[in-house]
């Protein structure tokens, strides 16, 4: 028994640290969502989620995440397929996967800046189109710093993420399966529709869900790009955290944060189920 206790001591530092900096913050959000300013239990914060502007922010966040997840998944899967036809150690594959890693996960503010420099008001492409071709991309208003701009920039980091998460599944496809299909008289179309397609489908849907969660959680790009208003949930949480005008908004922020966790948790649970199904064949 004392031996077992001594063994357990080995994980105490880790558990204490994770307890303070991960579990406590999570509980602060989860419990704070149901408390008022005087720490009394209340459902006001959660019912405030039904307010028009918060519902709209959630709807916009979900639409933004879904659209960019699907765009990213389709284009990213195509790029991933192009890469697996190259040898695993080839330079093209190594450069592209490293670049994808950077753009997918560590871009944040930089990506917002990159798009300002490209299609901002004095951006490279904007000026080129205006001066050389006479096309004004902002004739219908400046859309870069609003929702359409977010769709564009988010897609830019969703495609690389798709490459990273979908490549392992594509690597799991064995050339023998294609040869087997062919030796039994199946065409390329038949192979994709009846063999590779069904095998890759769970991985594809799972990766799309992961992309959705990724876009839904993203904050830095939107914070750097959107100049006016708070169209999506992460920006609403920011204004709830920083506004000094309305007292008691902080706990509505916690309720919104809890709402985000619920959405992401549902999506990630579905992802885990699909992941298990994928690993049955493609491991």
């Amino acid at each position: 028994m004392s031996r077992r206790l001594r063994d357990l001591l080995g994980v105490v530092p880790f558990l204490v640290f994770v307890g303070i900096f991960l579990v406590v913050p999570t509980l602060v959000v989860a419990i704070g969502a149901f408390l008022d300013e005087d720490n009394r239990a209340t459902l006001d914060n959660v019912t405030a989620l039904a307010d028009g502007y918060i519902v709209q922010a959630f709807v916009r966040s979900i639409v933004l995440s879904a659209v960019t997840a699907i765009l990213g998944a389709v284009i990213g899967a195509l790029l991933g397929y192009a890469l697996v036809t190259a040898k695993p150690d080839s330079t093209v594959r190594r450069v592209v996967t490293s670049a994808c890693g950077v753009l997918a996960q560590f871009g944040g503010v930089t990506l917002a800046f990159a798009f300002m420099a490209t299609i901002g008001l004095s951006g490279f492409v904007t000026l080129f189109l205006r001066d050389s071709l006479g096309i004004d991309i902002f004739s219908g208003g400046v859309w870069l710093y609003d929702l359409p701009g977010l769709v564009l920039v988010y897609t830019y980091f969703q495609i690389p993420l798709m490459v990273i998460v979908f490549l392992p599944a594509l690597d799991g496809i064995r050339p023998q399966w294609r040869e087997a299909t062919e030796s039994l008289g199946g065409s390329t179309w038949y192979y994709w529709r009846r063999v590779a397609g069904p095998l890759l489908a769970p991985a594809f849907i799972g990766s799309t869900l992961l992309l959705f969660a990724n876009a839904f959680s993203a904050y830095a790009t939107a914070a750097a790009l959107v100049s006016q208003g708070s169209p999506i949930v992460p920006l609403q949480i920011r204004s709830a955290l920083t506004s000094e005008v309305l007292l008691g908004r902080e706990n509505v922020g916690k309720a919104m944060a809890l709402g985000m966790v619920v959405v992401v948790a549902v999506v990630m649970a579905l992802y885990a189920v699909l992941q298990r199904r994928t690993s049955r064949w493609l491991d």
Binding site: D7, G10, V11, F14, F17, I20, F21, L22, V23, P25, T26, V28, V29, G32, L79, Y81, L83, T85, D89, R94, V95, V96, T97, S98, A99, G101, V102, L103, Q105, F106, G108, V109, T110, L111, F113, A114, M116, A117, T118, F124, Y156, P160, E182, A213, F216, A218, Y219, A220, A223, A224, I237, L241, G253, K254, A257, L258, V261, V264, A265, M268
Partner: protein, 272 residues
């Protein structure tokens, strides 16, 4: 059959170059635009002044003190986050594998939990925790490394777990123990050298993550590189665009080097 295979290989090569080529142009365009923007001189001429300023650190710190503070903070954040992540994670994961297999699920769950809790949510809950941190050790931006270690957990855990799966830790540890080694020796001289590349990749991923982190620093009102860049972006766009491009390229170089580390590991295994 051989002709068919060859024809398909050719078709795949064409597809590969078309897809990779087109997407490379699309993806490089915004990054090229950053470079173009930072080299736009007066009168539309090419000028490298911004980049020259970027390597002249003394003048940089005088001209843009905000940026300099952020860079210094990020430098220390990188060092401390990597150190804490490794010191906390490597012994724990090894120990759980060796002595407490029943806790493996729990540790894995905790390490992957930050994937489900967006940084913007974490920061809401971290605010009161950091009120205590300020009370005990002060409000320096460098204390953010505690939160960054949490953000790095999923990436670092996956890297280290993969590395440990490739070796037989239990047998190695038992062999060392039966020859009289203490647990410290087992950890430092037996396990660690065998998972060197996994530890390295965990460290690199943490570096890249900390270099790019904005959400938590910004909402807890601390300074780091990204916060400074964002702040400067409004007044002097050119320098902040240049720094952000440099940080992105640095992260790319790190991940590119990392891909070679992975390859060496594969080759070692195939030799043995």
């Amino acid at each position: 059959m051989a002709g068919l295979v060859r024809r398909r290989a050719r078709r795949q090569r064409v597809l590969r170059w078309v897809v990779v080529g087109v997407l490379s142009i699309v993806f490089l365009l915004p990054l090229f635009a950053l470079l173009e923007f930072t080299t736009r001189g007066p009168g539309g001429k090419l000028s490298w002044d911004t980049w020259r300023l970027l390597v002249d650190w003394r003048q940089l710190s005088e001209t843009y003190p905000v940026l300099w503070t952020g860079m210094k903070a990020s430098f220390w954040l990188v060092l401390l986050s990597v150190a804490l992540t490794l010191v906390l994670l490597v012994p724990t994961v090894v120990w759980v594998r060796l002595r407490l297999p029943g806790l493996r699920r729990l540790v894995e769950f905790l390490c992957l939990l930050p994937l489900t809790i967006p940084a913007i949510v974490l920061v809401v809950g971290l605010a009161p925790v950091y009120a205590w941190v300020v009370y005990f050790v002060g409000g320096s931006s460098v204390t953010l490394f505690l939160a960054y270690t949490i953000l790095a957990l999923p990436f670092a855990y996956r890297a280290i777990d993969t590395g440990l799966s490739a070796i037989d830790v239990r047998t190695l540890a038992e062999a060392a123990r039966s020859l009289g080694a203490g647990w410290l020796t087992v950890m430092w001289r037996v396990v660690l050298p065998n998972i060197r590349s996994a530890v390295l990749s965990a460290a690199f991923l943490t570096v890249a993550l900390v270099l790019g982190e904005f959400t938590i620093a910004s909402l807890l009102s601390r300074d780091n590189l990204q916060v400074a860049i964002n702040q400067l972006g409004k007044s002097s766009a050119t320098i902040s665009f240049a720094v952000s491009l440099a940080a992105l390229v640095l992260a790319f170089v790190l991940l590119y080097l990392l891909s070679f580390v992975g390859r060496r590991r594969r080759r070692e295994r195939s030799v043995s």
